[in-house]
């Protein structure tokens, strides 16, 4: 089956600034993919291109379409939440539901109202009267009631407190996700999404640094807390990153032979956040 999102040499320039530099990536159906990078790495540019909000150079297909040219058709099958704070302040909750129900062929009103029935939010309230957490719930209710093949979330929990964040991700995984759907999330708070992702894409300075599934991370990457006397031998195996914590030295290896590393010290699979730091500080070893 063809990939849901496929980008080849995707490039986006703003004047002299290159936000995306010949980025290649692939997202398969049924996955929860984290697009992870530091601020200004090109995450948002990539998402804007994928959602048809901006033009770009290079080749890009999403659900078999060219996003910028076919945004309208694409939005029949794809939906996105780009930061929860974007529902207009004058909009009433019931009007928002009416509007989306009116224009979106895949919107299921009963699902949206069922979701909102579990909250304190009533139909006549305007967005400006709602707290940020409540706005998130409205936006989620609207979005999750759409039978979309692809859901894109851009920093979805920015500015939310920890309770609202937890509720957001719980609803996402429990009520929304199933094998017919694909979710693409960008965030720079890796710890928050680590446990729900199936795939990770690291992006840095406009380039894709890593694009892999979490199953592959375990076989591909190894971290070793090296004993002091074996440090030189371990370094000879060419770790790509070295970290000093509490007097211990942790070396990170890619595609190394586990048998060789065993003697150096305690071996474990790096967490996504450790890997992120290791990969993006690359060369600083």
């Amino acid at each position: 089956m063809a990939a849901l999102i496929e980008a080849k040499d995707l490039t986006k320039k703003y004047g002299a600034h290159i936000a995306l530099d010949r980025a290649n990536l692939k997202v398969e159906a049924g996955r929860i993919v984290g697009l992870i990078g530091p601020n200004g790495a090109g995450k948002t540019s990539a998402l804007r291109a994928i959602l048809g909000l901006t033009n770009y150079e290079g080749h890009l297909t999403v659900l078999g379409r060219e996003p910028f040219r076919d945004r309208t058709e694409l939005m029949n099958e794809c939906c996105f939440i780009a930061d929860v704070a974007v529902l207009p302040s004058w909009l009433r909750v019931d009007h928002a539901i009416d509007f989306v129900a009116g224009v979106h062929p895949r919107f299921r009103r009963d699902r949206a109202t069922a979701f909102l029935a579990k909250t304190q939010i009533t139909g006549k309230r305007r967005m400006r009267e709602l707290s940020k957490g409540m706005k998130t719930q409205v936006h989620l209710a609207l979005t999750m009631a759409i039978d979309a093949k692809l859901l894109v979330l851009d920093e979805p929990t920015l500015g939310l407190d920890i309770l609202a964040r937890r509720a957001f991700y719980d609803a996402l995984v429990n009520d929304y996700m199933d094998e017919t759907r694909t979710i693409l999330i960008t965030t720079h708070q890796v710890e928050e999404v680590e446990n729900l992702l199936t795939d990770i894409i690291f992006i840095d300075r406009g380039r894709i640094v890593l694009d892999t599934s979490l199953e592959d991370v375990a076989t591909r990457f190894t971290a070793v807390a090296v004993m002091a006397d074996r440090l030189d031998a371990a370094r000879a195996e060419k770790p790509f990153y070295e970290r000093h914590i509490l007097g211990k030295v942790v070396l990170y290896f890619e595609n190394a032979d586990p048998a060789k590393l065993e003697g150096f010290g305690e071996i474990h699979t790096p967490s996504v956040s450790d890997l992120f730091v290791a990969k993006l500080s690359g060369g600083a070893a």
Binding site: R71, N76, D83
Partner: protein
């Protein structure tokens, strides 16, 4: 079509001023009719009462038209800017609605729907004012002001004014929307400064006034193009619907309006073509610029 329906409804949710301003303005006029000084001339003939009815309806309509002009301009300047400013454009763009559809619906609201709302408010205000005046002054005046036949003629006039205004001011609306889709802040300033700058540069370097003439003609020229001879609206012997200058035996609005002249005037169509180009540009910008 279905989407347009919702997009227009959306404009009414967002801009409650579309109906609130004419409602408040009509209310103020009615207050004036209730408590203001009434000194109406004695109407002796049927001819005079027709004239009075016509003048009355036209004056009320003209006042609403002026307010509408100001509000519509503001609406068009604002309509592609606000949702970029508060970033809600990202929500609207997450729905399967094309940018062309969005922009054209906003244009339709600004150029046709808002004027319809205002003229409906003008009609309602005139009706109530005539009723009030007939109680306060003399019943005969109130009924004279509410002449059914004249009323229908004035409705024809309103429809004609709405259509000609929409076509004539299309380049102005297109420019306003383009700036609304483009500016990062101070849309009003962006709308006014470039033409002003062009005018000044032309004065300084060429000593001519082409730009100034073009702009003044566009802003002020509509009555000269769309009516036969607008000065008769205000003359005592002519009046609006009793346009003696037209030499008609049955005076009517048909002698005032000049549709064949308006729609065969090259100025009309050159302006409209410029307007279409500006609106196409606004749509293109709308597709590319989503945030400020």
């Amino acid at each position: 079509m279905n989407n347009s329906n919702w997009l227009i409804r959306r404009e009414f949710w967002e801009n409650r001023a579309i109906w609130m301003i004419p409602a408040v303005f009509g209310g103020l006029l009615l207050l004036a009719a209730l408590f203001g000084q009434v000194s109406l001339p004695r109407l002796t003939s049927a001819h005079e009462s027709r004239e009075a009815a016509g003048a009355f309806l036209v004056v009320v309509g003209a006042m609403f038209y002026l307010v509408m002009g100001v509000y519509s301009t503001w609406y068009l300047l604002d309509c592609l800017y606000t949702d970029r400013k508060d970033r809600s454009i990202l929500f609207w763009k997450s729905l399967p609605i094309s940018d062309a559809n969005t922009v054209l619906c906003k244009l339709l609201v600004g150029m046709i729907i808002i004027p319809l709302v205002y003229f409906a408010a003008a009609d309602a205000t005139a009706l109530f004012a005539a009723f009030i005046l007939s109680i306060r002054a003399r019943a005969s005046i109130g009924s004279a002001l509410w002449n059914g036949e004249v009323w229908w003629q004035v409705q024809v006039l309103w429809m004609y004014v709405i259509v000609t205004t929409a076509v004539w001011f299309l380049p102005v609306a297109g420019w306003a929307m383009l700036m609304s889709a483009w500016a990062k802040r101070a849309v009003m300033l962006w709308a006014v400064l470039p033409p002003l700058l062009l005018y000044i540069l032309e004065r300084v370097f060429f000593g001519t006034r082409m730009v100034g003439h073009l702009i003044t003609r566009r802003l002020m020229g509509l009555p000269f193009v769309s009516f036969n001879d607008p000065k008769y609206v205000w003359t005592h012997e002519g009046g609006l619907v009793d346009n003696a200058a037209a030499g008609a035996s049955t005076p009517s609005v048909w002698h005032l309006i000049n549709p064949s002249g308006f729609f065969t005037n090259p100025e009309t169509w050159i302006g409209a073509a410029v307007g279409v180009a500006l609106i196409v540009a606004a749509i293109q910008l709308r597709m590319r610029r989503s945030e400020i």
